[in-house]
């Protein structure tokens, strides 16, 4: 089975993130970026599926020039080829527009007939988690979100979704789109060979024109929502200090009860 994995290049959560003054978008130049951690699970799952049967894994990203790093990481892990959709007009796109570009790129990468599309459940920067559903809708495919276990059997798939109170097992026909959680597997590290092999793997560069997407349908001006203000989270207030004057235990319990922790 051939699998397309959509991956996102995100600012490194370990570093201080900044926003651009003029349009309130993330300042990509100010921070180092990397392959969104949750997407590594999607790449790993795709590699496992292909290794157990056959097929190719294509990694797809929509993002600025630096996003090539996210593709490279996935290729180093073992994916077979990459597609990088890069176009200045995409800057500032919201989830809806991003899903349009992704859907068109998936179609083009699979000659119009994708078999399985995998994504991380959410990006580690935007944390909206809606893109998988939107892409599935645009492709007219079953969407199985937040999968913590995935098996492919013939023309269908089974996925486990873990909730707070119960786990569901979902079955869906293929082709389908699945978004995965960080419980689904343990992503591999690339190997030395993987690093060297990745240099020779093909990466296609596409623009909006290549996909037949109208530049007016994407980008910051086409976004359905607008970021009007960005403010740093205020520093955390100092915690409560419970002084033990013989009744420390009681006070502690009261504090926890008041906060509904107990």
């Amino acid at each position: 089975m051939n699998i397309v994995v959509c991956v996102k290049y995100v600012p490194d959560a370990q570093s201080e993130r900044a926003f651009r003054e003029q349009d309130k978008t993330v300042d990509r130049d100010a921070v180092d970026g990397l392959l969104s951690e949750v997407d590594e699970y999607a790449v790993e799952e795709a590699l496992k599926i292909v290794e157990a049967s056959e097929g190719e894994v294509t990694v797809l990203t929509v993002g600025p020039a630096q996003a090539a790093d996210a593709i490279k990481k996935a290729l180093q892990m073992g994916a077979d080829k990459g597609v990088h959709v890069c176009d200045d007009a995409i800057h500032g796109s919201d989830a809806a527009a991003t899903s349009l570009v992704l859907a068109e790129a998936i179609k083009k990468a699979t000659d119009g007939s994708p078999e399985l599309v995998l994504m991380g459940m959410t990006s580690t920067d935007g944390v909206m988690g809606v893109v998988p559903a939107m892409v599935a809708e645009r492709l007219g495919m079953p969407q199985v979100t937040f999968a913590s276990e995935l098996t492919i059997e013939g023309g269908s798939l089974r996925a486990r979704r873990d909730g707070d109170a119960a786990s569901d097992t979902i079955e869906a026909s293929l082709p389908a789109l699945v978004s995965v959680t960080d419980q689904i597997n343990e992503p591999r590290y690339p190997s030395f060979k993987g690093i060297m092999a990745a240099k020779k793997k093909p990466v296609e560069q596409w623009t909006l024109a290549d996909l037949g997407v109208d530049a007016g349908a994407v980008g910051i001006d086409a976004a359905w929502t607008k970021v009007i203000d960005v403010a740093k989270r205020p520093p955390r207030a100092q915690g409560t200090i419970v002084k033990d004057e013989g009744d420390g235990g009681t006070k502690l319990a009261e504090f926890l009860a008041a906060g509904k922790f107990l």
Partner: protein, 396 residues
């Protein structure tokens, strides 16, 4: 010219990420418990670290290294050593002492039998040269092997052998006297002894000053019989073979020492910038900041010496440099960087004050671990002897 290429830098980032995620969280506990993390070895294998200098036929990646295989190995050792010295030596010895002799001198059958598991990290191998009565003077080997029919019968003992007693150690190669050469000197050969062979006893692990996470044992051989074909390399070439192995090992130890120095530098910069005394960060005092500046000099000097030696070694493999050039660069790098690492840990423990003496901070562990760098793979004195000889100085 003074920067590693993009591939090497990317590889460094990979090892760094792995070491930070998979090694760093555990090392304090492993060290305290003197635990050898056997489960980590296959992970190092998956990263390809044991196979960097090994051809693809045995599971390695030599053909993909663009001629920089040994440099890659040094990078991996340095980065692991930055997080923990014992883990760094586990890789260094695993490749340099375990894999290398078999790869260099093994018959096709020997390579086929042992290398794939070693490269994958499913097994480890040791190399036993040092004996209770023969260390720097390794030619003074007393262990004997006599050929009886189709078998070598080995008697004697070895001391301080790295990776020789883990639960996955498959084989230990030892040097032994196999007779007398034409010139009257003892004939020394290398013989591979599979772990578990009757008459081969692995002594309990040592109580050590440092390298608690690394596996070190004394070995005893009592009428230990192995097939004649377990001879590694030529009969009588054991000593020469091992001398060649040592050049690589010295560069690798230099890389390990470099990891230690860089770690001390980073720790000291962070600590001295935040630790307050007399109402100011301690780093505002030149008594604190000057030795830290010296650490930066040690880190840079160690980097240049280590990677020059590694580059020369890679160039030597490509037939472009002489063995003496490698030998000299290796001894210079090992001598300087190991002594600098020792000095660096002394500086760092001083910068950390009382906390430097406490096991809650990593400094104490590095302080304990650093000493062996000046001893293993040839003591500092031995390096100076080698250099004296290479400089053409009159010899006693």
């Amino acid at each position: 010219m003074f920067e590693l290429g993009a591939d090497h830098q990317e590889f460094r980032a990979l090892v760094r990420e792995f070491a930070a995620d998979q090694v760093a969280p555990h090392v304090a506990t492993w060290d305290e418990q003197a635990y050898f993390p056997v489960e980590l070895v296959p992970q190092l294998g998956d990263l390809g670290l044991f196979g960097l200098v090994v051809p693809e036929a045995f599971g390695g990646s030599l053909e993909h290294s663009d001629g920089g295989a040994f440099t890659s190995l040094c990078i991996a050792i340095e980065e692991l050593g930055y997080v923990d010295q014992s883990i760094g030596i586990t890789l260094s010895a695993g490749v340099g002492l375990g894999i290398n002799p078999i790869l260099t001198y093994g018959t096709p059958e020997q390579k086929e039998r042992w290398l794939p598991d070693l490269v994958a990290g499913r097994a480890l191998a040791g190399f036993g040269l040092t004996e209770p009565e023969a260390g720097s003077d390794a030619g003074g080997t007393r262990t004997r092997a006599t050929l009886e029919g189709e078998q070598w019968v080995v008697n004697g003992s070895k001391a301080f052998i790295t990776n020789s007693g883990t639960s996955i150690t498959s084989v230990t190669t030892v040097t032994a006297r196999t007779g007398v050469s034409a010139d009257g000197k003892p004939e020394i050969s290398a013989i591979m002894i599979p772990n578990g062979t009757a008459g081969f006893r692995v002594e309990p692990g040592y109580r050590k000053l440092g390298w608690h996470i690394s596996d070190t044992h004394g070995l005893a051989f009592e009428d230990c019989r192995v097939p004649a074909e377990n001879l590694l390399g030529e009969r009588g070439a054991g000593f020469k073979q091992f001398l060649k192995t040592l050049d690589d090992g010295r560069i690798a130890i230099s890389a390990l020492a470099l990891g230690c120095i860089r770690r001390m530098l980073d720790e000291c910069v962070a600590y001295s910038s935040s630790r307050m005394a007399f109402g100011r960060p301690i780093a505002v005092n030149q008594g604190v900041s000057f030795p830290i500046a010296d650490l930066a000099v040690m880190a840079d000097t160690g980097t240049l010496l280590t990677y020059r030696a590694a580059w020369l070694k890679d160039e030597y493999e490509a037939g472009r440099r002489s063995v003496d050039e490698v030998k000299k660069a290796a001894s210079v790098a090992k001598l300087y960087t190991s002594e600098a690492a020792m000095a660096a840990t002394r500086i760092a423990t001083q910068v950390f004050g009382g906390n430097g003496f406490m096991e809650e901070y990593p400094i104490a562990r590095f302080y304990r671990d650093a000493k062996i760098l000046e001893v293993g793979e040839g003591t500092s004195e031995v390096q100076r002897m080698v250099l004296g000889r290479l400089l053409g100085l009159p010899q006693a």
